[in-house]
């Protein structure tokens, strides 16, 4: 009897424990915040922790647009048709604009939100797009058309294209898509001269680099496009495998959060940035990956017309850092770390995504050096989903390290570096400036560049912004990533290495030849899309667009291998831009 009672008490306790555990989990404690947001002015105290972040606001006002707008007129080629023979018309341009702008869950409306109307010109083969102001990056728009007839409601296509894209305006069309493979067959109605050479293209997912390399060596796939890492050339070394390495638009860098935390103090941030020897880091971490690499000096942009190539050069100055700190009241405490006015040394949290060997190695190499230099820096890592979707957007870090992809047009800099794109209460915490950098002059320059039609003036604007970034120690550029393709010479031939550097990646596979005669070319993919919707969340992945959207969607401008834009055969000539 006593035993039963005690056992029941035990069982109840166990169940109660699970409830207690459940109840205690979750909910963060809310810190009491002050009522009025504190406007940050330099020289005063800096918000040092995440709770203070909520109260920070900026008094920057976006400059009023003085232009009356512009129109862009596109003349669609008369022979341009979809895969079923129906003509490509203004309706498709309109559908594209409508769906990107209005679909709930649309990834980004940047650019299309500048268009007020898309109408037919002299016929439905002529499109007139009206912009509310001069929009310089207009070439990045309408690069992937959506076929109007394939969706019921162009204002909401979030339910469409879950597992298939039925249309095509390019050499191949999709025959089938499953979570194990995509099959492409030639699009008979394609009007261009670069018709599909090989009768079947198959793409298959490969779990990781080891699997795809093993598959390539075993001949199960014919071509792979892996992310470069140290040792990859040795791993793939085999007589019948050829490779090509080019330097593309991906670059890696350090980013400092200056909205709140220890780096809100510009002196401390500057000293920290000056204490990092990028050259030595580059030699230890990146040269083993690719000995042809060169340290990036441009900033958050790859070398090109918009960068001089020396903006961030000479960022390392250890002695200067020490002088800067001691001149401003900092001194090394008994623990060896810099502290101000007898307070404790600020703790710096460096976040990366777990499982990334290169970044973990960078931490292992750099943290001891920085600690020796007097900075209390610790690693604070979490997995990829937590990193990219939670911590970075919430500015819950002090120093981050990630790769960005630079599209050919520098318009992407605007949303990432202007004052009013810093997530604050004012914009519902929905901004993309996760560095928290607010420099009024730079923001004005960036906004001006967006509405500047003259490319030379634009370029000088961008260069000025980059110099301001370097002076403010916003970030530290590191490495322009190699884009590499590896393929079996006995299985696939033709211009395989022709477009590996392209933003649209190996897009010329319609010209590849099938050498071994098995009637197909097999391409290995490192990531696999969850759905094929070109405007919502699934399209946030490079591999998704490379394998599904880019091969079938026609566009006005295509990116080139040199990082520029070129007209396609969709239009008869250069679209006419009229400034109103």
């Amino acid at each position: 009897m006593r035993k039963t009672k005690k056992a029941i008490k035990f069982a109840v306790g166990l169940v109660a424990l699970s409830f207690v555990a459940a109840a205690c989990g979750g909910g963060n404690s809310d810190t009491a915040s002050s009522d009025a947001p504190a406007v940050v002015t330099p020289g005063v105290s800096y918000p040092t922790n995440l709770a203070d972040c909520v109260n920070v606001a900026y008094d920057y006002v976006k400059p009023e647009s003085t232009s009356n707008g512009m129109t862009v007129t596109y003349d669609i080629a008369p022979e341009a048709v979809w895969e079923d023979g129906s003509a490509i018309t203004v309706a498709d341009f309109k559908a594209t604009w409508d769906s990107v702008l209005n679909t709930p869950g649309s990834l980004s409306t940047v650019g299309y939100d500048q268009i007020t109307a898309v109408d037919a010109g002299t016929s439905d083969k002529q499109v007139v797009a009206t912009f509310k102001s001069v929009y310089a990056p207009y070439k990045s728009l309408f690069g992937g058309l959506i076929k109007a007839a394939s969706v019921k409601n162009t204002a909401d296509i979030s339910g469409d294209f879950a597992d298939f894209i039925p249309y095509s305006g390019r050499p191949y069309k999709m025959k089938s898509w499953s979570k194990d493979q995509i099959i492409y067959v030639p699009n008979e109605n394609y009007w261009g001269t670069d018709k599909a050479v090989t009768k079947k293209i198959v793409m298959v997912p490969k779990a990781d680099s080891d699997t795809e390399i093993a598959s390539l060596k075993a001949g199960e796939v014919d071509f792979i496009y892996p992310q470069y890492y140290g040792g990859i050339t040795e791993a793939v070394a085999q007589d019948n495998i050829s490779s090509s390495v080019q330097f593309g638009g991906d670059f890696e860098g350090f980013y400092f959060n200056q909205k709140c935390g220890p780096f809100a103090d510009p002196i401390f941030r500057a000293a920290f940035s000056m204490s990092i020897d990028r050259e030595a880091l580059f030699e230890q971490i990146y040269i083993p990956i690719s000995d042809q690499g060169v340290l990036l000096q441009c900033g958050p942009i790859v070398p090109g017309p918009n960068c001089n190539g020396d903006e961030f050069a000479g960022s390392f100055d250890a002695a200067g850092a020490e002088t800067l700190l001691t001149d401003n009241g900092w001194a090394k405490g008994s623990d060896g770390y810099w502290a101000k006015d007898g307070e404790s040394a600020p703790a710096i949290r460096w976040i990366i995504n777990t499982g990334n060997t290169r970044r973990e190695n960078t931490q292992a190499y750099l943290i001891p050096l920085l600690q020796a230099a007097g900075f209390n820096i610790k690693s604070d890592n979490c997995d990829a989903a937590c990193y990219f979707q939670k911590r970075l957007p919430a500015l819950d870090f002090d120093m981050a390290m990630y790769i960005s992809t630079a599209p050919p047009d520098p318009g992407y800099l605007t949303s990432s570096f202007v004052c009013d794109q810093i997530p604050t209460a004012a914009n519902n915490n929905a901004g993309q400036n996760s560095q928290g950098w607010c420099n009024a002059e730079a923001s004005d320059l960036l906004y001006a560049a967006d509405v500047e039609a003259d490319t030379a003036v634009r370029a000088s604007n961008i260069k000025a912004v980059l110099q301001l970034m370097a002076a403010d120690h916003v970030m530290l550029p590191l490495f322009q990533f190699p884009k590499s393709g590896f393929w079996r010479t006995d299985k696939v031939g033709g211009p395989v290495d022709g477009e590996l550097n392209n933003y649209t990646a190996f897009i010329n596979f319609n010209q590849w030849t099938d050498v071994d005669g098995d009637g197909q070319i097999v391409i290995g993919a490192e990531q696999w899309p969850e759905c094929l919707n070109p405007v919502t969340e699934c399209a946030n992945s490079s591999w998704m667009v490379w394998t599904t959207v880019f091969p079938v969607s026609p566009g006005v401008w295509a990116t080139t291998n040199d990082g520029d834009y070129a007209l396609t055969n969709l239009v008869t000539g250069e679209p006419v831009v009229t400034v109103l």
């Binding site: 709930p104 298959v204 075993a218 939670k390 969850e530």
Partner: protein, 324 residues
């Protein structure tokens, strides 16, 4: 016998409910399904969020939430996955079919070979072949499956194709790229390497169990009686020894469903084989609650089912148990 079975089934159902409730709590705490959903669908309307919460039983109270989830689960009204908004049931069915094939083949091959080796070693205990078998089994247990998987992959896929010009066993997937439809030979070829890796683990474990179990039996009193009666050694082995030696082995075999699934996770990861293991890993890494719950229920149900089968088989093999 029937009463015994009915009693065991009656115990199994409340156990299933309790365990799935605990799993539900653990997954809700660990993966935060509401946050995962909001991250993937940052502009979802309040209505869609409410619908998602209702389908997944994510109310603030854990017990009523579980109850709500259970109702949708048993009526097969399953919510779609967070990532990619995909139907769960077809994906789960595919993964299950693939893993069943792999697991069954590996278990059959592994158990048969393992038992055979165990008998082989037990016939001459302490001798040279016993020691060799023992050491080999030890090494088999001590090498983590991912190491043996990689080495096999390297040997059979990469080096073989270099020496002989074609691959003997492919390194990944269920079918070669570009293939559609059913083909038993290709399927078997793709399954060969992962099956070998899982089977190695099983052989290592079962050969030792069988050996020790058989040794115990061979030295017991009733065997001595049989020998003194003049029955030949092989007759003794087959008629008396095996049946009794199988009892503890069967018990272990049934309870091992869990360890087979665990082994499958690593193997399927390395060989990119789209079974239950890979399904779980991907769902877990994405924090995809709607994908994980049905998987968990399936696993728990299988474990309870196999426990039941083991108990019943045990009772059938050893009449003393039935009379409990």
């Amino acid at each position: 016998m029937l009463r015994y079975v009915v009693r065991r089934i009656a115990w199994a159902i409340p156990t299933l409910l309790l365990v799935t409730f605990l799993v539900y709590v653990a997954l809700r705490l660990g993966t935060n399904p509401v946050n995962s959903y909001l991250r993937s669908n940052p502009r979802a309307s309040a209505e869609k969020i409410a619908q998602y919460k209702e389908l997944n039983g994510l109310g603030s109270n854990y017990v009523t939430g579980y109850w709500g989830w259970l109702k949708h689960f048993v009526t097969l009204d399953w919510p779609r996955s967070i990532k990619g908004s995909r139907e769960v049931l077809p994906a789960l069915k595919d993964a299950l079919a693939n893993s069943l094939r792999l697991g069954a083949a590996a278990t059959v091959v592994g158990v048969v070979i393992g038992l055979g080796i165990g008998v082989f070693a037990a016939l001459r205990p302490g001798g040279r072949r016993d020691v060799t078998v023992n050491t080999a089994a030890f090494i088999g247990i001590s090498i983590p499956p991912y190491i043996s998987a990689i080495l096999l992959q390297l040997l059979f896929a990469v080096y073989w194709s270099r020496w002989f010009g074609h691959t003997l066993f492919p390194t990944s997937g269920v079918y070669p790229p570009g293939h559609s439809g059913f083909n038993a030979v290709l399927m078997a070829k793709h399954m060969a390497l992962p099956m070998i890796v899982v089977a190695i683990q099983i052989i290592a474990v079962y050969s030792r169990y069988m050996r020790s179990s058989l040794l115990d039996v061979m030295n017991s009193d009733y065997m001595r009686t049989a020998r003194s009666k003049g029955i030949s050694e092989s007759q003794i082995l087959i008629r008396h020894g095996m049946r009794n030696a199988l009892i503890p082995v069967v018990t272990i075999a049934a309870l091992d469903v869990g360890s087979i699934v665990g082994g499958l996770i690593i193997t399927e990861n390395i060989f990119d084989y789209p079974g239950m293991g890979l399904y779980f890993l991907r769902a877990f890494n994405d924090g995809d609650f709607p994908l994980m719950m049905p998987w968990m229920v399936l696993i728990v149900a299988s474990i309870l089912l196999f426990n039941l089968i083991a108990d019943v088989t045990y009772a059938w093999l050893d009449p003393r148990i039935r009379l409990e």
